[in-house]
Symmetry: C2
């Protein structure tokens, strides 16, 4: 497990430091996009300097090991890159629950195409669907008190 992370870091040309291993391992274990604050509060990352976490996330994004998506709440969320689609910068839609603020990668779906203005070059697409996840929808339907 750790070896796989080390290999991923090495193949990206990065040094294997405890900070990167723990951040990458945590994101890998979580498997869904999480915010800097979520990570900072996670036991495996707790104690790490906030600035280091910012920089580590930035480094991993630049290296293509993780991607980041912005929710409609303005918070960036970070998620490991699917292993079998190296270099794909989060190229899939995401679902953000406005209740529990959790985000899911909809990795099984292609990013829809859009006609852009004449002459424009598309470099990427950012598609966030927001609403309530099953758990939050059920909770609000049951109690009548959406968070």
């Amino acid at each position: 497990m750790i070896d796989a992370l080390r290999m991923a870091l090495r193949s990206a040309g990065l040094r294997c430091t405890p900070a990167r291993l723990s951040v990458l391992g945590t994101l890998d274990a979580l498997g869904q996009p999480v915010t800097h604050a979520d990570l900072s509060a996670h036991p495996d990352v707790a104690g790490m300097d906030d600035i280091t976490l910012y920089r580590t996330l930035g480094t991993l994004v630049d290296a293509g090991l993780i991607h980041r998506v912005q929710g409609i709440d303005g918070a960036w969320r970070y998620c490991v890159q699917p292993r079998d689609r190296a270099g794909c910068p989060g190229n899939h839609p995401h679902f953000l629950c406005t209740g529990c603020r959790r985000m899911e990668c909809l990795v099984d779906q292609a990013m829809p195409r859009v006609r852009v203005p004449e002459g424009a070059e598309v470099r990427g697409r950012h598609f966030v669907v927001y609403g309530r996840c099953a758990a939050c929808a059920a909770a609000s339907a049951g109690s009548g008190a959406p968070g």
Copy 2:
């Protein structure tokens, strides 16, 4: 022109104040999503207190007169609602130029559908396509020095 803005404000249940008229008028004249900073620097809005501008934009968004979209640069951009589609909260894709940081509403295109996790309720979709607009693409192709 001003009368149309006054009517729009009144029909939304808002008072017609100079701040709202100038913000709404400026957004209407610009016709494309602009940031708080862009607005703040605009001659028609210059001199207005930044906090007032924040609150005015928030009020207009709440009233459904304008909508806001977040670019991948984290900045919220505000744009008037298409008159013929009242109540549509920016329900169309947007194109963001990473060069000049300008955004365009792709109002002629429907927001694509996406399959969300079982049981989830969709409340909205946020689709931003980014890249280079025709002008920036031409400039970088010509000079070889993209901003």
